[in-house]
């Protein structure tokens, strides 16, 4: 079809759209039908008109284009800056662990396959993260201190960005303690898992004697000059009894801002807990040896797998951001149109 005949008919689609949009209030949608013969040029024109007029294409299905009158609110605008996708990046250094916690969200245990991220990849992640404007790296596992090159791994991260290293705190002895000592105290925070003020609850999930070793690990880390955060994983029904726990953490020198309480997630080997889906979860860009995931809580679950391509990291962050915006907008539309009958 020649431009002289294609373009005016494409313009006719825009006239239809202007009329349709004028008939619905801001926030409503109008649809227009493209013609088979000039679908692409008409769609380009509709997109250009939407961009210039402050309206938004919400879907294209076959020849039917649905346009929102006005623009949907930016889902990112409502987030705390610290919640923006890519404000920090999680990396699973490995999946094997000296413990086999009964609620582990990624099924780590001594029998789990290591699936290590490796020094080369981690260094590139750290470098690209810094370039992409990421503010912090968070390393987790598995138990990272099982890795013999953990000091080099961590230093490659702290050379680029402030870093937090999650650990059960039970392995600060011998060569592993020496590796800890070679890490950068000014750029690294340790985050140790402790679930209760006394051994009972903690040990029931994580193994007999694990509480005492974790608390001792916190003491060692403090003695070595590291900042230590404590993260507790609690079932929702225990979330209202936190005062004794906070009081205990106060006594072992954990500042209140470093006391993190999180709800147990129904993921991994946990047989209960809150349900977390990509629809309901603000993403935290998470990288494992297998690729990029939506959130660290589901880094072993296909439903939150994003892409096998870790690099360029900025593209992975952009893809998660794009999906988050799409999920939020879809949820808003569903909320608007959910029929009762």
């Amino acid at each position: 079809m020649s431009p002289s005949s294609a373009e005016p008919s494409a313009m006719g689609v825009v006239l239809d759209l202007i009329e349709g949009i004028g008939r619905v209030p801001t926030g409503g949608t109008a649809t227009v039908e493209l013609l088979e013969g000039n679908r692409i040029s008409a769609l380009d024109l509709v997109a250009a008109w939407c961009a210039s007029s402050g309206n938004e294409i919400v879907s294209v299905e076959g020849l039917t284009v649905t346009v929102l009158h006005g623009r949907s609110p930016d889902p990112l605008a409502g987030l705390d800056p610290a919640q923006l996708p890519g404000s920090r990046v999680w990396v699973y250094t490995n999946f094997d662990c000296n413990l086999a916690c009964d609620y582990c969200c990624v099924r780590s245990s001594p029998k789990a396959e290591r699936r290590a991220i490796g020094a080369e990849r981690l260094q590139r992640i750290a470098s690209e993260a810094a370039a992409a404007g990421v503010g912090e790296l968070i390393l987790t596992g598995g138990e990272p201190f099982l890795l013999n090159d953990l000091d080099a791994l961590v230093n490659s991260c702290t050379d680029e960005l402030p870093t937090t290293l999650l650990t059960n705190g039970m392995l600060f002895r011998g060569a592993r303690l020496e590796r800890l000592r070679r890490m950068d105290r000014s750029r690294l925070t340790l985050q140790v898992s402790v679930d209760s003020a006394t051994p009972g609850i903690h040990d029931s999930h994580r193994g007999t004697g694990s509480w005492a070793k974790a608390v001792d690990g916190i003491r060692i880390a403090h003695d070595e000059g590291f900042r230590v955060k404590v993260a507790a994983t609690l079932p929702a029904d225990q979330m209202h009894e936190l005062d004794p726990f906070h009081a205990f953490l106060d006594t072992i020198g954990i500042s209140r801002k470093d006391q993190v309480i999180r709800a147990l997630a129904h993921r991994g080997v946990a047989d209960s807990g809150i349900e977390l889906t990509v629809d309901s979860l603000i993403p935290e860009v998470t990288i494992t040896a297998d690729g990029v995931y939506w959130h660290p809580v589901a880094a072993d679950h296909d439903d939150q797998f994003v892409t096998r391509d870790i690099f360029p990291l900025a593209d992975a962050i952009a893809e998660i951001t794009r999906r988050f915006v799409a999920h939020r907008r879809a949820a808003e539309r569903a909320a608007e149109w959910f029929p009762c009958a």
Binding site: P8, V14, L15, R23, P25, G28
Partner: protein, 270 residues
């Protein structure tokens, strides 16, 4: 508590409800609260204003001039949108049609919008006449969609543009707002081009009867003009209504329409 000023507006778009609810909310926090009444056409609204059912009417330029005629010049224009002071009619044709002036329309087909649209029908004929072209010199087609709303819906202008695309007309006369809505010819170079822009004239204005006391009108106008584009609560209302600032009216901007109505024998009431 002060009785609210009752303002009439024509429901030309579904956005009229959120616009006026937003205005009502805004004025509720001022010394001059308002309420609003929606009409299906400007004739009914002007009748209500003159009969005293309304304190103010948000009128098109045609409704303002007709109210002026029916009140022997007694009504007052209180405020307009910034965009109302610089309204224009744009004559457009398919790109490359070779039109260069109104004179080049002689013997050609011009499509006009609704007969009660100042921008797309009444004033275009006036501008043709000023250019020395009478109705017989140009083959006029009128598309009378949404009569009663004075062209507010823009539908007749879109229909006029379709007529040009479909080669049922050589050119169309449309309002600057519709020309902007279709991207001023920049969205799809090769589809439409403008070949003549009219002088600026005034469009909508809040109209008050002489019976509305200055002591009530002036504080209300002051509060209206205080609406601020930079204020996140005000902005959505202003965006929907198509302005960045409320401004005092420009009365001389209605002279061309007054002349057009006289020339064309358009009645003061209908």
């Amino acid at each position: 508590m002060t009785a609210p000023l009752v303002i009439g507006s024509v429901a030309y778009s579904p956005n009229v409800v959120p616009i006026w609810e937003g205005m009502r909310d805004y004025f509720a926090e001022t010394s001059t609260p308002i309420d609003f009444v929606l009409f299906s056409n400007y004739g009914r609204q002007v009748d209500a204003l003159i009969s005293g059912s309304l304190d103010l009417a948000w009128n098109t330029n045609l409704a303002w001039v007709r109210t002026l005629a029916q009140t022997d010049g007694g009504c007052r224009a209180l405020a307009s949108r910034d965009t109302d002071l610089i309204f224009k009619t744009v004559f457009v044709a398919r790109s490359g049609s070779g039109f260069s002036s109104l004179e080049s329309l002689r013997g050609r087909r011009l499509v006009l919008g609704s007969r009660d649209s100042a921008q797309a029908a009444i004033l275009p004929v006036h501008f043709l006449r000023e250019a020395g072209l009478s109705e017989g010199d140009v083959n006029l087609t009128r598309i009378n969609s949404d009569v009663g709303k004075h062209g507010d819906t823009g539908r007749s202008e879109l229909d006029a543009l379709r007529a040009v695309l479909d080669d049922r007309a050589d050119a169309a006369a449309i309002g600057i707002n519709t020309w902007q809505a279709i991207g001023r010819g920049e969205l799809l170079p090769g589809a439409f081009e403008s070949f003549w822009n009219s002088p600026e004239y005034s469009h909508c204005t809040f109209t008050a009867m002489p019976s509305l006391a200055i002591e009530r009108a002036d504080p209300w106008v002051a509060n209206l003009l205080a609406m601020d584009w930079e204020n996140s609560k005000h902005r959505p209302i202003l965006e929907m209504e198509g302005l960045q600032a409320w401004v005092p009216p420009r009365l001389e901007g209605y002279a061309s329409l007054v002349a057009a109505i006289r020339e064309q024998g358009i009645a003061a009431r209908w």
